[in-house]
Symmetry: C2
Subunit: 111 residues, 2 copies
């Protein structure tokens, strides 16, 4: 299928899953458990969309599926947004610098 990344992130639940995975790998069951208002199959289907859009990877481990974030999948999106940066007013440049600095700091930390 190779679902569109723009579509994949349009759903709040799927964004929440991505945010969760930003904190590290998770088993499918642990992800599903985080969403109290949704059933296991519902979350499973969201994971399928994220898989097909290339935003997450799966590793099979016995009965479990370990999901990991694939940040490279966001490259297209980032490139698309970046196109508009030049049009942003100066006030937003400050935000950009702030975020860049934060990202850089985080990257330097020992893992």
């Amino acid at each position: 299928m190779t679902t569109d990344v723009f579509f994949a992130i349009s759903d709040p639940t799927r964004r929440a899953v991505l945010d969760l995975l930003a904190g590290g790998a998770r088993k499918a069951g642990d992800i599903a458990a985080k969403f109290l208002d949704l059933t296991q199959p519902a979350v499973s289907r969201h994971l399928k969309v994220l898989r097909e859009s290339g935003l997450v990877n799966v590793e099979v481990n016995a009965q479990q599926r370990i999901y990991t974030l694939n940040p490279e999948g966001l490259a297209d999106l980032y490139e698309w947004v970046a196109k508009y940066q030049a049009l942003w007013p100066e006030t937003l440049d400050a935000l950009e610098r702030y975020l860049d600095a934060k990202a850089r700091a985080k990257r330097k930390r020992p893992r």
Copy 2:
């Protein structure tokens, strides 16, 4: 309604409208004329979504509506994507630098 920005950009037609407006202000009719496969009402409703999501502004001029891009509307999206930057592998840092440089160069040009 204040539609969600993530939802607004999930539609290819709406992204095409934004890309068009990145080139400057356009009358509603001129925008609609660009989409040969769509009718005027269809485009009008896409414009409504973009309006409600804060991604475009409208100026009334007699019977015409002049649409302009509101790049600040993309701030939330940019912030969201930027969160993941720190997780990107080094290969993507190059892309980031490239885009930053390009945006900076464009910003410096006389208007």
